[in-house]
Amino acid sequence: MIWNVPFITVALLIAIGLYAVMFKRNLIKIAIGITIIESGVNLFLITLGYRKGGVAPIYTNLPSGVTPQQMVLPVPQALTLTSIVIGVAVLALMLSFIMKMYQHNKSLDSHSRRLKG
């Protein structure tokens, strides 16, 4: 059961993030919601890569008494790293859009939008 805690956290994070994106009116909170969803997905990837007693997949640095079979597969970590980098770019772009919108509308409320119908 205790091993399921990360997965429950993932589900909670994604649910909280989706709630924020759908029901919050403040644009910054929408950006935060997206970041929370992203953290949930990243945590999911990392949890998949976890193995009890695993070691880093570096041959030259293998501790004594550990066989190469105990190395973890580095692919999930690589995927997470890529996803984090993309996430930073998206967050920066999103915040700069919010800044521009605030300059024009003088409000962060999503209900003060201009495009309707």
Partner: protein, 516 residues
Amino acid sequence: MIYNEAIPAILIGLPLLAAFITPIINLASRKARNAFVIAVLAIEELLIILLAWHVFTDGIVIYTMGAKNPGIVPLQAAVPIRIVLEIDGMAAFMGLISCTVAMAAGIYSISFIKEGNGKSRYYTLLLIMLAGMLGMEFTGDLFNLFVFLEILSIASCGLIAYRQHADAVEGAFKYLVVSNIAALFVLFAIALFYAQYDLLNIAAIAKVMQYTQLDKIALVLLVAAFAMKCGSVPMHFWAPDSYSTAPAAITAMLVAASQASLYALFRVCFTLYGSLMDYQTIGLAIIIFGLLSMFIGVTMALPQKDIKRLMAYHAISQTGYMLLGVGVGLYLLGSSDFNVYGIKAMEGGIFHIINHAMYKGLLFLTAGAIYYRLGTRNLNEMGGLGHTMKFTSIFFIIGALAIAGIPPFNGFASKLLIYEACYKVSPILSIVAMLVSVLTLASFIKVFHSAFMGPKMHDVKDVKEVPKSMLVGMAVLTFVIIFFGLFPGWVVSHIVHPAVMALVDKTAYINAVMGG
């Protein structure tokens, strides 16, 4: 033919490299920069024609990134290592669309986008957008698909907000939120696959797919994400906002970008799952998405006053046709009727993709031409443009007749295929499709009448024809529309049919990577 096996990699790499060289050339001279960008786009077009020719005659092309012999996928214990590009008929078909639209948009932008400190960045993002689209279409690797999806959406958002109006920034923000959530859904689905099969390659996953409970969740996530990104109802709200506020050339590119997501949707449904899943339910869901998109799109378009917003709602409605055609094919997959009219329906849907990219691209470019001269998108402030903007009005008529499905233009050819094939499944589908077509014509007659007909307006006397480069950009798309309209039989049998067969033939796609 002068074919080289490195062409798939060059097609993705060249625009990426050129994107970052463009600002450097801009330091030397603006003319050189324009010439450079157009040359790159023209080379892309040539290369994709070569590649498509090769794929349509010799079958699937494989390119393994970084391998000594890129034509063969290195397998280790039945796991393909390295990133594999896999170009089958469908991918080559989509590549043709992306490159053609990008070329027209690039030429059009030379005079459409006013010179300023941002224009070299504009071209940078345009080239990155092209690279993102081609990457999404060519890749045989799910994670790579996610990366290119993000490259595409970040570049598109930057371009939508290019003019930095309040409206443009808002449209870009909406698109960024929707596409980022869609991309995270895709990443979650990829993680589900990786958890079960330790694989990321599409062909390898398709080979060992068990269709477990987790795979069902992944299917729902992927279908929802790509349906969101292609602008189908009920997640269509971003499309009118971002399409109408982006510069016109970018709107044409956005149409092609949405279709890259549509391609990913079809790739997931047909290649990754295929007959394993409950294709009737998914097919029915896609048909319902299609019908709703068609009807809601066109009814929302009728009352619009903003010319680009009106066209954006039509884009949603036309996406419905593609979903309907391919959805009918998916619904019939595996039954004996599939070979009789399932393939016809899919041909109609797939043919409509390329037709729509051409005529909707053209219509957005004409709307951009009007905006360029008048500085407004409001239909009530236009009138009598036909007196002075003769070429633009001719291009608009051709685009409008093509979208309404009037012969001899290309829209007619694909819509007829869809009507015919859907009628055999349920006459209601065809009736809705025809009704939507009639409403489309009605709405474009309204636009034509209020923008081009009537006496010259007093306050806009200095309206001239748009500069040559914009006319050339529009003419490229018009040429394709007329060609496809005059020779639909040749196009269907030589380009569309191989694409459909590539989509349906799951085993060929798997064997090309996994061998035997």
